[in-house]
Amino acid sequence: MNPNRMQNALFAVGDYVGGLLIGGATAAAVRGLVSPETDMVVAMIIGMTVGMILHLAIGLLLTPALGMFHAMIPGSLIGMYGGMLFAMRDSMQAHTGSLGHAVGIGVAFGILMIAAMHLYDRALRGPVPVHPS
């Protein structure tokens, strides 16, 4: 395989590993902090905050290898919006699924978000129409 393609493939694998780590860690932390007795609004604020903190911590560790933008931008979407979604779920249902199930959903959410970001990046990449100034 040509070295550039190999490098791009390794970076893509790294992006997915980062996404699944942030998604799984956020889901696990939210499951530990939010119970069905928690008010949904409070739960979502907790989820968002926890997701932001975890994404910053994990993103900072991954930044040297993946680059700040590829580690932080998708990570922040997964942490902040994922944290809110997981918290909404955990405040609404009586924890019918196990912790492993919750983490699995977090991991799947992380992978899905990374795939979406890769697609979005492909769509946006390239020249932007410039209007004469």
Binding site: F69, Y120, G126
Partner: protein, 201 residues
């Protein structure tokens, strides 16, 4: 000279190489394409540790400045390895000590995210460029996608303490400083961009 700014970037200079290792590999090719257009007498604003010097084509005459003596110190080996003339100076982009219309090309690389007053910095670049002089920028900017822009705003509260702002509207600032925007290319999402502008004749 802004001493607080200098101290911040001196601290960051110790880990800058490590933090930008992946980024350099991901964005290196895009930088090389952009900087291939440098010509004549060139100014590089905020050279950092000199990670961009290997992307410059050989044989140019370049003056590279940075506000941080720590960054300049780390850039020395890369400057010495450049196959052309590359001199380093500690200088604030917001108060350039060059005469008007000195340079043919000015380049920036993740610079306008770190300058306290980006418009003032751009006006200084405008002043020091010759008429029809080119400004080549590799910069990250605030996204135009609402949810991502919101996250950049939130993260900037933290990142500006150790390094850059993530939510600068650099493309608009280039136009506000008087430049003609010639080309804008998205390199990653609509956040990391290669920008070409020109000082009007």
């Amino acid at each position: 000279m802004d001493l607080a700014l200098q101290a911040k970037w001196d601290r960051t200079s110790r880990t800058y190489g490590l933090l930008t290792w992946g980024e350099e590999r991901r964005f290196g090719a895009a930088k090389q394409r952009l900087f291939a257009e440098m010509e004549g007498r060139c100014l590089m604003a905020a050279a950092g540790t000199g990670v961009d010097f290997p992307h410059f084509r050989p044989g140019l005459t370049i003056t590279a400045i940075d506000v941080s003596p720590g960054m300049i110190e780390q850039a020395r080996d890369r400057a010495a390895a450049y196959p052309g003339s590359l001199t380093l100076q500690v200088m604030d982009l917001q108060a350039l000590q060059f005469a008007d219309t000195t340079f043919d090309t000015a380049v920036t690389s993740c610079t306008l995210c770190s300058v306290p007053d980006p418009l003032r910095g751009l006006r200084e670049l405008y002043r020091c460029l010759k008429p029809r002089g080119r400004l080549l920028m590799f910069e990250h900017v605030r996204s135009r996608i609402g949810p991502i822009a919101l996250l950049q705003d939130v993260m900037t509260f933290i990142t500006r303490r150790i390094g850059p702002d993530l939510n600068r509207d650099t493309v608009s600032n280039v136009v506000r400083a008087g430049f003609e925007l010639r080309r804008e290319t998205n390199v990653y999402l609509d956040i990391v961009k290669a920008i070409e502008a020109r000082r009007p004749a």
